[in-house]
């Protein structure tokens, strides 16, 4: 029976000898190139924010300028280890800048605005675990918000600024941890750089995983734990790495539910792989770390965060049921490349790119699978990550089930850890014909660029790829859209702690900037109250029962999209049929004796009176 591999990596010839000085290679030039790519994207964002053009040419050109040259260099044999690590870091941080510049004035992602109320609550009360009306489960995972609140209170930055810094720090951690992890597993810094660059092609890396959300903090810690485990099993400084693993595991448990479950699954999977491979517990088996993670996760879930069950269960059962219904033909499959059901699909070139990216990943996976089996089948971590890589392709099928698409999408950033490794092992970069020694590197860069583009297409709505008008210059003054302005007015004129029924985006803005208790969605069903033209008795009774004194009627259909509802509308958008709900949606409240206290055109606020809800 072959021994399980835990040895330290063998240094390839390109690695430097100790004390020998060497230059930065192409790093400075590629830094200029990457910065240029960011600037090109910012220019594209500028045209979009100025409502001059929504053409995405500058966006794609900028991404190509940013990504391709760096990956080409990583695919070449010449760079030394330090250069590869720094290039990987350059790539990861520049991609983070793309997201930062996408929304430079404030958070505009639905999940971000679900976390900001927690930060404000901590800053105001100096305590954790206060209720959150937008996403109640986040109350019980305060890792991200406590850190952002700490930085805000120590530095004087707004929660927005503090959040950007915290997620930027997390981005730095995950990039370095990915590189070190893959290097430790494969013994090659070249594979490590390519694997990290491949990981950055996953659909959520550019925008979703860079947002101010609890997973964006927990996932980097998870990768760091995996790396720390590979160091631990090398038997050098084991007690030290044990402390790192245990400490970080506790932090993950307190920060994000799914990341803690993924961590448990990975550690248990590796432990089982040891068991299967060797038949008994081997040195390097993470059994005790797995048990610790499991106990910590279960303990937090049972004693602190029991609401997580109520939050996740419907999501998982809904995804399962939707998959069954789709497979059995009871429900129509989801339309690929369409942002919403019935919406126009993506352009042909984007569809082709999206499909090509999956095919390229599948092809690379097969070659990489062979390399992983030949060179690393004795390493349980590599084998578990290979299984995760295969699991990624399984989740692609879930994208056809309407209610399972989101689950598949969220799983991808975990499963891609394995896929990135296997793809990097495929070895295309090492193909160097005598006359074209750069061919392998060039093809690798080209293929990864297509995969990157495909991931970006799959991971974010095309309408929101470019920055939208959030704060615009009018007569030398910066002005903000109706929803944001409403929140400013509420905190100034009504004060904090007011109860609102509002659309998805308005509710988030009110909760984040007006310290309001804002209810949206279907539980309770305020959505019908806000969207229908009639006012049956049950709607007023529902508002009274939930103590929702104020009702925000927003005629813009986009306000019910928690990604798109935060911006100025354009003349073209408002001219589109169906852009606004009929005026009867507003008028129905004018037929009953409620005060209409605020009117900004599309947004009207009704006050049902003090007897419905006490002021505090």
């Amino acid at each position: 029976m072959s021994a399980i591999s835990t040895a330290a990596p063998v240094q390839p010839r390109t690695e430097v000898v100790a004390n020998e000085a060497h230059g930065l290679g192409w790093l400075p030039a590629l830094a200029v190139c990457a910065a240029g790519g960011v600037l090109i994207i910012v220019l594209g964002d500028g045209f979009s924010r100025a409502t001059q053009s929504s053409a995405q040419a500058l966006f794609w050109i900028g991404l190509a300028v940013l990504y391709v040259p760096v990956v080409f260099r990583l695919a070449r044999p010449a760079p030394l280890r330090e250069e590869r690590l720094l290039l990987t870091l350059l790539l990861g941080l520049c991609l983070y800048l793309v997201k930062v510049m996408h929304d430079p004035f404030g958070f505009t992602y639905g999940d971000e605005l679900a976390h900001v109320p927690n930060v404000n609550s901590i800053l105001r009360t100096h305590e954790l675990f206060h209720a959150n009306s937008i996403l109640p489960v986040t109350t019980y995972y305060p890792g991200l918000e406590s850190l952002a609140a700490a930085l805000s209170s120590l530095s004087g930055l707004s929660p927005f600024g503090a959040g950007l810094v915290v997620i930027g720090a997390a981005r730095l951690v995950i990039v370095i941890a990915l590189f070190l992890l893959f290097e430790r597993l494969t013994g090659s810094s070249r594979v490590a750089g390519l694997a990290a660059a491949t990981y950055m092609t996953n659909a959520n890396f550019l925008f979703f995983s860079a947002q101010f959300s609890y997973e964006s903090l927990a996932l980097p810690l998870l990768v760091m734990i995996l790396f720390a485990y590979t160091e631990w099993r090398s038997r050098e400084l084991q007690p030290s790495w044990s402390v790192v693993i245990l400490l970080s595991t506790c932090a993950v448990v307190v920060t994000h539910h799914m990341s803690s479950y993924a961590l448990c699954a990975l550690l248990i999977g590796v432990s089982l792989a040891y068991l299967i491979h060797a038949g008994d517990r081997q040195q390097g088996d993470p059994y005790w770390f797995a048990m610790f993670a499991l106990l910590a996760t279960a303990g937090w879930l049972i004693f602190v965060a029991r609401a997580t069950l109520g939050y996740l269960t419907p999501v998982i059962t809904g995804a399962f049921a939707s998959t069954i219904h789709t497979l059995s033909g009871e429900a129509a499959p989801r339309q690929l490349f369409a942002p919403t059901p019935g919406a126009a699909g993506a352009p042909l070139l984007e569809r082709v790119t999206g499909i090509a990216s999956v095919l390229l990943l599948a092809a690379a996976f097969l070659f990489g699978l062979r390399a992983a089996w030949r060179g690393h089948r004795d390493d349980p971590v590599v084998m578990v990550l290979t299984v995760a890589a295969a699991g990624f392709f399984g989740t692609l099928a879930l994208r056809f089930a309407p209610a399972a698409w989101e689950t598949a999408n969220r799983a991808s950033e975990f499963l891609f850890l394995g896929l990135a490794l296997v793809v990097a092992l495929s070895g295309l970069d090492r193909w160097s014909p005598a006359r074209l020694p750069w061919l392998g590197g060039g093809l690798t860069a080209a293929c990864l660029a297509i995969v990157f583009a495909g991931g970006t297409i799959a991971g974010w709505s095309p309408d929101l790829r470019l920055a939208q008008p959030y704060r615009i210059n009018a007569g030398g003054k910066g002005i903000e859209p109706e929803g944001r302005q409403l929140a400013s007015w509420v905190i100034r004129r009504l004060g904090p702690g007011r109860h609102f029924a509002a659309s998805s985006s308005d509710a988030r803005l009110l909760a984040s900037y007006a310290q309001a208790i804002a209810i949206e969605g279907e539980s309770p069903n305020v959505k019908d109250v806000l969207q229908t033209s009639t006012l049956p008795g049950w709607e007023l009774a529902l508002l009274r029962r939930n103590r929702l004194r104020y009702v925000v009627i927003d005629r813009r259909r986009s306000s019910f999209d928690n990604l798109a509802g935060y911006f100025f509308a354009t003349k073209q958008q408002l001219a589109t049929a169906g852009a606004l709900y009929p005026s009867a949606v507003v008028d129905k409240f004018d037929r009953v004796r409620v005060s209409r206290i605020y009117d900004s055109g599309n947004v009207v606020v009704f006050d049902l009176g003090p007897r419905l809800a006490p002021l505090r």
Partner: protein, 260 residues
């Protein structure tokens, strides 16, 4: 001295950072780097100094651990502070972090003194940086800075649709018979309005509001007669855009207390 130089630097930086973040109330630009050091780098660095002998791990691992374990420590410190009587305040954070970093540095120094016979591993590869590299890196930094500045500049958006807000509220608790009202402009250009307050057919207030430029607002209050305050009809506020004076541009109304 080389053996303890970094620990002294950490202790010094931590103390300086605490002093600055707690004493400088304005200037987030000045406080931010020290706050970030105190929160996101020094805790992790001091912990890895305790856990790992000097020179035992590479610079890349040190950087990752410094930031990553700082994040992990901060999350757990937050839980601890929440359970403490001091809660999560700037002062408790600063003192708590300083105490941790100082204690960790002290432990690391003790460990290193006991490991005096252990020679640090020979330094890894040294980077040779030439002037061209520095120039290019500065150019990259300038490009990023320019991109950040451009991104953070609000731009004119001629195709965006502006709006004007009209609002009407009852008086504050000390003057409940008053009405408070206001007009706020978020249009793309200056506008002129007329504001009318009425109850039924009775006009309580009528005013041509001075030109409102983008971002400007007009607000006022009105003391209403007791008969109006106790009346059964709502008070209505109507805003007319003088560019189109025949149609009501914005409309709000307030029912008297007790009539809802």
């Amino acid at each position: 001295m080389r053996r303890y130089g970094d620990l002294l630097a950490v202790a010094g930086l931590a103390s300086t950072s605490v002093a600055i973040v707690l004493s400088v109330s304005d200037l987030p630009t000045l406080r931010l780097p020290f706050a970030a050091l105190l929160l996101l780098i020094l805790p992790g660095y001091s912990l890895q100094a305790v856990l790992f002998p000097l020179g035992a791990i590479s610079w890349s691992r040190i950087i990752m651990l410094s930031v990553g374990t700082s994040i992990a420590l901060d999350v757990l410190i937050a839980i601890g502070l929440n359970l403490s009587p001091w809660r999560l305040r700037a002062g408790s954070w600063a003192v708590g972090l300083l105490a941790f970093e100082a204690a960790a540095c002290a432990l690391a120094a003790i460990r290193r003194s006991r490991d005096a016979s252990h020679e640090p591993r020979a330094a890894g590869a040294r980077l040779r940086v030439v002037w061209l590299d520095i120039g290019l890196l500065l150019m990259a930094a300038c490009l990023v800075g320019f991109a950040l500045g451009l991104g953070r500049t609000p731009l004119s958006a001629k195709n965006a649709v502006g709006y004007t807000t009209l609002w009407l509220l009852p008086g504050l608790a000390k003057e409940p018979s008053d009405l408070r009202f206001g007009v706020e402009s978020r249009q793309l250009g200056p506008r002129v309005y007329r504001l009318v307050l009425r109850r039924g057919n009775d006009v309580l207030y009528s005013k041509r509001i001075p030109v409102l430029r983008p971002g400007q607002q007009y607000h006022s209050s009105l003391r209403v007669p007791p008969a109006v305050a106790r009346g059964r009809l709502p008070v209505e506020a109507l805003l007319y855009d003088l560019a189109r004076p025949r149609s009501v541009y914005r409309f709000v109304k307030l029912w008297p207390r007790g009539e809802r």
